[in-house]
């Protein structure tokens, strides 16, 4: 299977490209986790919402890709915020697991609301598909390179906000001890809303990029949620750069399937990679020890 360095490079690149699709939703997922401390599986639904919002903006209103992406971010962020306030926030006192489970139910709910209005048909954007670039026999997708750049930019910006700004500090403080943050003058609810909006928005943004690469239907986000969750966990839950890195690990793990086992075992190799990482670092690559 592997003949020369090019094959290895190609597999790594493919992993990168596959991983690039997971990055933004994973960053969104981890952002919400970073502040609210529960895994919000509804990012799957927010990704789908973003994909549909972008689709409507692009094919129905004729907006170009860039603006459609903005629409995807805003609509998914708004839906995320609304869902959080209406459905998840009242459950927070019952503990993170209850909220996590409710978020699964929420995903089903949003998926079916989309199904109600849009049906099950596959849809595509009104955008051209670019051919891959080739360098000395190695193939790189411009679209995926773009995805990676978007994700890295988002990760970098978010990381900077969290690490260096007053808002970021307040977000981490709320994550750590919401009551004490309140005592110190922070409104934990407002901080949570900011985090949810950004997280859901990024998931929506990522969902539209995903739709550009595949096609969209009510299951678009749901199909990748496992990998997204895995990426966030491998990177270390709550760590923004970790989520981006985790997406790469999962992507490369999946593309290695053809070398290690069989393509039908993509998920298995990905999980072997995850298990390997977690058995060395139980808190994930960039996560903090408990």
């Amino acid at each position: 299977m592997i003949q020369d360095w090019r094959d290895i490079a190609q597999i790594l690149l493919n992993g990168l490209m596959t991983g690039s699709m997971l990055m933004l939703p994973a960053i969104g997922f981890t952002t919400i986790f970073a502040v609210l401390r529960y895994p919000n599986f509804a990012v799957a639904a927010y990704a789908t919402v973003g994909a549909f919002a972008g689709w409507v903006a692009n094919t129905q209103w004729g907006l170009p890709a860039g603006l459609a992406l903005v629409a995807a971010f805003l609509v998914a962020g708004a839906v995320g915020l609304l869902a959080e306030e209406a459905a998840l926030k009242p459950l927070r006192p019952s503990g993170p697991l209850t909220v996590a489970i409710a978020s699964v139910a929420l995903t089903l709910l949003i998926e079916n609301i989309l199904r109600f209005f849009f049906g099950n048909e596959l849809r595509g954007y009104d955008l051209p598909i670019l051919r891959d670039w080739r360098f000395d026999g190695i193939r790189i997708g411009p679209q995926q390179v773009q995805n990676t750049l978007y994700a890295c930019a988002a990760a970098g910006a978010l990381f900077a906000v969290l690490a260096f700004t007053r808002l970021g500090r307040a977000m981490r403080a709320v994550a750590d001890n919401p009551q004490l943050a309140d005592i110190k003058g922070v409104d934990p609810d407002r901080i949570a809303r900011v985090a949810v909006f950004i997280g859901a928005g990024l998931a929506g943004f990522g969902g539209m990029l995903l739709g550009l690469d595949t096609s969209i239907d009510p299951l678009t986000g749901f199909r990748v949620i496992l990998s997204v969750f895995a990426a966030a966990v491998v990177g270390g839950l709550g760590s923004i750069p970790g989520a981006a890195l985790g997406a790469l690990v999962v992507g490369i793990g999946e593309e290695m399937a053809g070398v290690l086992l069989e393509p039908a075992y993509r998920t298995v190799t990905a999980f072997l990679a995850i298990l390997l990482v977690l058995s060395i670092r139980p808190q994930g690559l960039l996560g903090r020890a408990a």
Partner: protein, 240 residues
């Protein structure tokens, strides 16, 4: 009986947690501006619960709490903080995952940037352990170091009223002494202080007033020195 001169008035407060909603069974206390009162009493008497009610963490079931005549009851903690009340809780009083420096900065969240920078430096000078550990996550601090950090966070603002829940717990004698000196100094600058302490003799020695809380009720109030000297109080609550 609203007292025009009082800074803090707690009147007939009844409250508690969930099903146990009568931990405080009608508490009435008042504190004049720039005064210091020490609250003492057995474990589980409701001392922390009272401070939590004043700080807004706990919504009392009945009664009222006023600061300078304005009602605090029902306000969220952040609004109460914004009115000049700083609170150091007994437990979970630092942000464990933030660095020491960031903890201090969070302490001054409501203050302008320049003030925060200035006070952070000042506090680090005052408490050298904090300077030494400024870049470390607060979770790595020892028990006593945490206590100092929690106290320092409250000093990032210049409150009208400082609520302290067992500030000296876990401090070495030397550190505790230093802490009480600091509290006295802050008090001397005109800050009113309401302090819960098990280190009761020490606390009563720097406070002006004393409040003995037993089983959710105010059992005794009076001048701090007098209470500390009262043989019955000594026997029951001050360890002889």
């Amino acid at each position: 009986m609203p007292d025009a001169a009082a800074l803090l008035e707690v009147e007939g407060v009844v409250g508690g947690y969930g099903a146990a909603d009568e931990i405080l069974k009608g508490i009435t206390v008042a504190l004049a501006p720039a005064r210091m009162a020490a609250i003492v009493g057995p474990n589980g008497a409701g001392k922390s619960t009272l401070l939590k009610a004043i700080a807004g963490i706990l919504k009392p079931k009945a009664g009222s709490i006023r600061l300078q005549g304005r009602a605090l009851t029902g306000l969220p903690p952040r609004s109460i903080a914004a009115q000049g009340v700083a609170f150091v809780p007994q437990e979970a009083n630092i942000f464990a995952s933030l660095t020491v420096r960031e903890n201090l900065e969070m302490g001054g969240y409501l203050e302008p940037r320049a003030v925060v920078r200035e006070r952070t430096e000042a506090l680090m000078q005052r408490f050298p352990v904090l300077a030494e550990k400024r870049r470390r996550a607060a979770r790595t601090l020892s028990g006593g170091q945490r206590q100092i950090l929690a106290m320092a966070m409250a000093l990032m603002v210049q409150p009208k009223l400082l609520l302290l829940d067992e500030p000296s717990a876990g401090l070495s004698p030397k550190a505790a002494e230093f802490l009480f000196d600091s509290i006295a100094a802050i008090h001397a600058e005109g800050t009113a202080i309401l302090m819960v302490e098990q280190n009761a003799l020490e606390a009563l020695s720097i406070a002006e007033e004393g409040i003995v809380l037993v089983d959710g009720r105010v059992a005794r109030t009076g001048q701090a020195q007098a209470l500390a000297a009262d043989p019955e109080v000594r026997r029951l609550f001050l360890g002889g």
